[in-house]
C-alpha cells in the first residue's frame, strides 16, 4: 500500500496546493514541500521495509520486488493496479522526489502568477512519473505515461517563455502520438499472449516470455521503441526537445530533462528489452547507431546555439545518447553506467537549468551574445555553474564521468566501433561546456547589468546538489548495490525467453547480432 500512498500523497498535495493558494500562495508552496518530504520518507521506508520482508541482510540477489501491490482494477479486461518496486525503480522514485524538491525550490521565487494551478500541475507530473517507475501493469503504465503529459503541457503553455504555444503543442503531439503507437503494441502483445495461453492480462510479469513470431514481434517492438525513443529522445525523434526545454519555466525544464526523459530510458530497460529480447538484440546495431548519432549530433547542435537554455537542452540529447547506448549494450557494466548517467544527468542538467533560470530572472534574456563578464558580480553563481558544467563535460570525480565511462566500458565489450565514436562525445562536451562558461561569465561585460548573486536559499539548494554529484562520482556503491540486483533480475527475465524462431534458418545473419547478447558477463 505504501506505493499507492507515494502517488496519492503527490496527487492530494497538488489538489491541496491548488485550493490553498487562493488564501496564501506561500501555503501552496509549503504544502508541496511537505508532501514531497512525506513522500521521501515513504520511499526511504520502502528500502527498510524491503529488508524486513525479505529477511535478508542485503537486497535480494535476483531482483525480486521489494514491495508489491496488486489489486484488480478493470477485471473485465485483465487490468490490475499492479505497483511494485525493485532497486532500479526505487532509485528512480527517489530521484523523482529529489528533483521534485529542486524544481519546487526553483519555482519559489520565479513563479508568482497562478501559483496554485502551477503547483497542482507540478505535483501531478511528479505523480505520473512516479507511477511510470512503479507500475507493472502495461495498461497502468500507459495510463501514467499519458497522464503526465497534460500537466506538463499546461506548465509550458501557461508559464513558459515567448514561444510557449508552439513548444507546448509540439511536445504534446509528439509524445502523445508516439504513446499511441506503444498502446497498439501493448494491445498486440495482450491479444497474442491471450491467444497463446488463454490468459488475457496486461500484467507485465505474466506477459514476459510471450511467444511472438518474429514478423510480428518486430512491429510490436518498434511501437515501444518509437514511444521510448521520442521521450528519451534519440535522433531523429528529438526535435520537440529543444523547443519544449527552452520555452518551459525553470521548474518545467528541470522536470523535463531530469525526469521525463528518464521515463523513456526506464521503458527500454524495464519493458522493451525484457519483452522482446531477441528482436531487441537484432535491432541493437540500429539502436546503438542512433545512440551514437544522438551523442554527436546533440553536441554539434549545442555549438550552434546563442540561446543559453537551448544549448543546455541540446546537450541533453547528447547525454541521453549515452544512456541509450548503455541500455542496448545490455551488460552489467553498461546498465549500471546508464543508471549513473540517468541520475547524474538529472542532477547536473537540472542545476544548469536552474542557473539559467536565475540568470534570466535577473537580466531577462537567455541570449549569450549579450552576456559575458558576469563573474565579478556573481561569483557564487559562476562557481556553481562552473561545477555543473564540469560535471556535464564528464570531469572525473563527478557522477556523469562515471556514468559515461561505464557505458563506454560496457559498450566496448560489445562493439568497439560504437564505443570509439561515442567517446568523441567527451571531447565535444568539453569544448561546448567550457565555451558556454567562457561566453557567459568570463570576458568583457557586454550588457550594463548589475547582477545580484545567489541568495542563501539558492546557495543551500546548490550545495546539496554539489554534494550529491560528487558523492555519486566518488562513492557510487550504495546506488550500485541497490540497483544491480534489479538489473540481474531484468537480465534474467530477458534471458529466460527461448529463441522464438528456430525454423527461420538464417543463423549466419543473426549470429553477429546475437553475439551482442552472449558476450554479457
Amino acid at each position: 500500500m505504501i506505493l499507492a500512498w507515494i502517488i496519492i500523497v503527490l496527487l492530494a498535495g497538488g489538489l491541496a496546493a491548488w485550493f490553498l493558494a487562493r488564501w496564501d500562495p506561500l501555503w501552496a508552496r509549503r504544502t508541496c514541500l511537505f508532501a514531497l518530504l512525506l513522500d521521501l520518507a515513504l520511499a526511504v521506508s520502502v528500502f527498510w521495509l524491503g529488508h524486513i520482508e525479505t529477511g535478508a541482510a542485503g537486497l535480494p540477489e535476483t531482483g525480486a520486488w521489494l514491495i508489491e501491490l496488486n489489486v484488480p482494477w478493470i477485471p473485465q479486461l485483465g487490468i490490475g493496479l499492479h505497483l511494485a518496486v525493485d532497486g532500479l525503480s526505487l532509485v528512480l522514485v527517489l530521484l523523482t522526489i529529489f528533483l521534485g524538491l529542486l524544481s519546487l525550490s526553483s519555482a519559489w521565487s520565479e513563479i508568482t502568477g497562478r501559483v496554485g494551478f502551477f503547483h497542482f500541475n507540478l505535483m501531478w507530473i511528479l505523480a505520473g512519473i512516479a507511477g511510470v517507475f512503479m507500475s507493472l501493469d502495461m495498461f497502468l503504465f500507459y495510463f501514467f505515461w499519458e497522464m503526465m503529459l497534460v500537466p506538463m503541457y499546461f506548465l509550458i503553455a501557461i508559464w513558459g517563455h515567448e514561444n510557449r504555444q508552439y513548444a507546448s503543442v509540439k511536445f504534446f503531439i509528439f509524445t502523445q502520438a508516439s504513446g499511441l503507437l506503444m498502446l497498439l503494441s501493448i494491445l498486440g502483445l495482450f491479444f497474442i499472449h491471450g491467444a497463446n495461453t488463454g490468459d488475457y492480462t496486461f500484467d507485465y510479469t505474466r506477459l514476459l516470455g510471450t511467444q511472438v513470431s518474429p514478423s510480428i514481434a518486430i512491429w510490436l517492438m518498434l511501437g515501444f521503441f518509437i514511444a521510448f525513443a521520442v521521450k528519451l529522445p534519440a535522433v531523429p525523434f528529438h526535435s520537440w526537445l529543444p523547443d519544449a526545454h527552452t520555452e518551459a519555466p525553470t521548474a518545467g525544464s528541470i522536470i523535463l530533462a531530469g525526469l521525463l526523459l528518464k521515463t523513456g530510458a526506464y521503458g527500454f530497460i524495464r519493458f522493451l528489452i525484457p519483452l522482446f529480447p531477441d528482436m531487441a538484440a537484432r535491432f541493437a546495431p540500429v539502436a546503438m547507431g542512433l545512440a551514437v548519432a544522438s551523442i554527436i549530433y546533440g553536441a554539434v547542435l549545442a555549438f550552434a546555439q546563442n540561446d543559453l537554455k537551448r544549448l543546455i537542452a541540446d546537450t541533453s540529447i547528447s547525454h541521453m545518447g549515452f544512456v541509450l547506448l548503455g541500455v542496448y549494450a545490455w551488460n552489467g557494466l553498461a546498465l549500471e553506467g546508464a543508471l549513473m548517467q540517468i541520475i547524474s544527468h538529472g542532477i547536473s542538467t537540472g542545476m544548469l537549468f536552474m542557473m539559467v533560470g536565475s540568470i534570466q530572472e535577473r537580466i531577462h534574456t537567455r541570449d549569450m551574445d549579450v552576456m559575458g563578464g558576469l563573474w565579478p558580480d556573481a561569483p557564487r553563481m559562476g562557481g556553481v555553474m562552473m561545477v555543473f558544467a564540469l560535471a556535464s563535460l564528464g570531469l572525473p570525480g563527478m557522477g556523469n564521468f562515471l556514468g559515461e565511462f561505464l557505458v563506454l566500458f560496457g559498450t566496448y565489450r560489445v562493439s568497439s566501433a560504437f564505443a570509439v565514436i561515442a567517446s568523441l562525445g567527451f571531447v565535444l562536451s568539453t569544448i561546448y561546456s567550457i565555451w558556454m562558461i567562457q561566453r557567459t561569465f568570463h570576458g568583457e561585460k557586454r550588457g550594463g547589468y548589475r547582477v545580484r548573486d545567489l541568495s542563501s536559499r539558492e546557495m543551500a539548494a546548490s550545495a546539496v546538489m554539489i554534494a550529491a554529484i560528487i558523492w555519486l562520482g566518488v562513492y557510487p556503491q550504495p546506488v550500485m548495490d541497490t540497483a544491480s540486483p534489479a538489473f540481474n533480475g531484468i537480465q534474467g527475465a530477458a534471458k529466460m525467453q527461448k529463441a522464438p524462431d528456430p525454423v527461420s534458418g538464417r543463423p549466419s545473419k543473426d549470429a553477429r547480432a546475437k553475439s551482442i547478447w552472449t558476450l554479457t558477463p
Partner: protein
C-alpha cells in the same frame, strides 16, 4: 399483446405519454419551471421503469419492436442524455426572449423517437422512429426563430433530412421488393436464400446506408453538420450530436451484426472507406475552425469514424467497445456543449474561440470542466474518452484491422491539435471577448458537475460501466 409485454413496453409508453401530459398542462398553466419539472420527472420515470421491465426481457412487441437488454441499455443512455439536455436548456432558454415551453415537448418527442429506433426490428418502426426523431428536430433547431441563423440551420436540416429519408425509403422498397420482408432478422436470412438477386439487395442496402450515413454525419454525407451545429441552439446541437447519432449507431450495430457484415466484402470495403474518410475529413477540417460549435461538429464526424473502426471489428468485444465509447462520447459532448450553453447570452451563443480567451482565470471551474471534456474527446487518461479510445483500439487490434487502427492513431494526433487550441485559449494570459466572470446558473452548474463526475468515474474506474455493458450489450451476442 399480453400484460407482460405491456409492462416491458412501459419505458416507451411513459416517454410517449409525457409530452401529451406536458401539452395538457400547458393548456392551463404556463410556467417554465413547472414544465421543466414535468419533463425531467417523465424522463426520470422512463429511466426508472427500465429496471422493473428488464426482468421480462427479451420479447417482441407487435412484430415491430424488439425489447431486449441491448435496446434497454441504449434507451437508458438516450433518456439520460435527454435529461441532461433538458437541464441545460432551462437556463439557456430562460435567457432568451421566447416562450420556452413547447421546446420541451419537441425534445421529448425526439427522445421517444430515439427510443423507438434503438428497439425497432422492422422497417416500419425504424422509419417511424426516425421521423419521430427528425421532425421535432427541424423545429428545435430553428426554435429561437427571431434569429435568422437558427432558421437557416433548421431549413438546411429539413431539406437534407427529407432527401435522406427519401433515399432510405427507396432503399427499403428495393429490399422489400426483392426479399418480400421488412423485418430485420428475416432480411438477413432471406438474403442468403438461393435465387435472390444480391445486387438488387445491395443496391437497396446502399441506399439505406446513405440515409443512415446522413443521420450519423459520415463522410460524404456530412456537409450539413457544421452549419446545423453552428446555427442550432447549443443544447439542441448537443442533442443532435449525441441522442440522434447514438440511436442510429445502435441500430446500425445491431442489424449489421445480425446481417454478419463480414460476409459482404463490398459492404466492408464501403464502411472502411467511409470510416477512413470520416476520420480524416473530420479532423483535418476541424483544424481551421474558429467557431467552437463548428469545431465540435467536425470532431463529431471524426468520432463517428472512430466508432466505425469498432463497428468493422465486429464481435462481442467490439460491441462492448461501441457501447462504452458512445457512453463516453455522450458525456464529453454533452459536457462541452453544456459549457457553451451555460456561457451563451441572450443575443448569441458563446461559440467563438476568442470568447474563451482566459476563461480559466475568471471562472476556473467552468474552464476546468470544458478542458476536461475536450481532453476526453481527445482521449487523454483520467477521462472517459481515454478508456473509450483504448477499447476501440483493442477491438481493432483483436480483429487485426491494423491499417484502420494506425489511421485512428494518426487521427488522434491530428485531433489533439485543435482540442489543444481551445484549451490554450481557455488558459491564455490574454483577456477574452466574453464579459467578465459569467454567473453560473444553478441547474447548469449541477448538470456540468454531474457530467464531470461521470467523466472521471468512467475514466478512472470503468469496471462498473463494463459490468453493465457485459450484462446488457454482450448478452445480445
Amino acid at each position: 399483446m399480453d400484460a407482460d409485454t405491456l409492462r416491458a413496453l412501459l419505458p416507451l409508453i411513459i416517454i410517449s405519454a409525457t409530452p401529451v401530459a406536458v401539452m395538457l398542462v400547458l393548456a392551463f398553466y404556463r410556467s417554465h419551471a413547472l414544465t421543466v419539472f414535468l419533463v425531467l420527472a417523465g424522463l426520470a420515470l422512463s429511466f426508472a421503469s427500465l429496471f422493473p421491465a428488464s426482468g421480462l426481457l427479451p420479447r417482441m412487441a407487435a412484430g415491430l419492436l424488439v425489447l431486449d437488454h441491448y435496446s434497454f441499455f441504449f434507451m437508458g443512455l438516450m433518456f439520460a442524455a435527454t435529461f441532461a439536455v433538458a437541464l441545460l436548456s432551462y437556463g439557456y432558454l430562460g435567457r432568451k426572449d421566447i416562450f420556452p415551453d413547447e421546446y420541451y415537448i419537441l425534445l421529448l418527442i425526439a427522445a421517444a423517437g430515439s427510443a423507438v429506433i434503438v428497439s425497432s426490428s422492422h422497417f416500419a418502426s425504424f422509419f417511424l422512429g426516425l421521423e419521430l426523431l427528425s421532425v421535432p428536430l427541424y423545429a428545435l433547431i430553428s426554435y429561437p426563430r427571431a434569429n435568422p441563423r437558427n432558421v437557416e440551420a433548421g431549413i438546411k436540416y429539413l431539406i437534407l433530412a427529407g432527401t435522406s429519408s427519401a433515399f432510405l425509403l427507396f432503399g427499403m422498397a428495393l429490399v422489400y421488393a426483392e426479399l418480400g420482408t421488412m423485418e430485420f432478422p428475416r432480411i438477413s436470412t432471406a438474403a442468403l436464400f438461393p435465387g435472390t438477386d444480391r445486387n438488387f439487395v445491395l443496391a437497396g442496402v446502399a441506399m439505406i446506408i446513405t440515409g443512415i450515413g446522413f443521420k450519423l454525419a459520415l463522410v460524404p454525407f456530412h456537409m450539413w453538420t457544421p452549419d446545423v451545429y453552428e446555427g442550432a441552439p447549443a443544447p439542441v446541437a448537443a442533442f443532435v450530436a449525441t441522442v440522434s447519432k447514438g440511436a442510429m449507431f445502435a441500430l446500425l450495430l445491431r442489424y449489421f451484426t445480425i446481417f454478419d457484415i463480414r460476409r459482404y466484402g463490398s459492404l466492408m470495403l464501403l464502411f472502411t472507406v467511409i470510416s477512413i474518410a470520416s476520420m480524416f475529413a473530420g479532423n483535418l477540417l476541424a483544424l481551421f475552425q474558429n467557431n467552437v460549435k463548428r469545431l465540435l461538429a467536425y470532431s463529431s464526424i471524426a468520432h463517428l469514424g472512430y466508432l466505425l473502426v469498432a463497428f468493422l471489428a465486429s464481435g462481442v468485444l467490439a460491441a462492448a467497445a461501441v457501447a462504452f465509447y458512445l457512453a463516453a462520447y455522450f458525456v464529453s459532448t454533452l459536457g462541452a456543449f453544456g459549457v457553451i450553453s451555460v456561457l451563451s447570452g441572450k443575443e448569441r451563443d458563446a461559440d467563438m474561440i476568442d470568447d474563451y480567451m482566459g476563461l480559466a482565470w475568471r471562472s476556473p471551474w467552468l474552464a476546468g470542466i470544458f478542458a476536461a471534456m475536450l481532453l476526453s474527446l481527445a482521449g487523454i487518461p483520467l477521462t472517459a474518452g481515454f478508456i473509450g479510445k483504448f477499447f476501440i483500439a483493442a477491438a481493432g487490434v483483436d480483429s487485426s484491422l491494423w491499417a484502420l487502427v494506425i489511421i485512428l492513431v494518426i487521427n488522434s494526433a491530428i485531433g489533439l491539435f485543435y482540442y489543444l487550441r481551445v484549451i490554450a485559449a481557455l488558459y491564455s494570459r490574454r483577456p477574452g471577448a466574453l464579459a467578465a466572470s459569467p454567473k453560473l446558473p444553478v441547474l447548469g452548474g449541477i448538470t456540468l458537475g454531474a457530467l464531470s463526475v461521470a467523466l472521471l468515474w468512467l475514466g478512472v474506474y470503468p469496471a462498473t460501466m463494463l459490468e453493465i455493458i457485459r450484462n446488457t450489450i454482450s448478452r445480445f451476442f
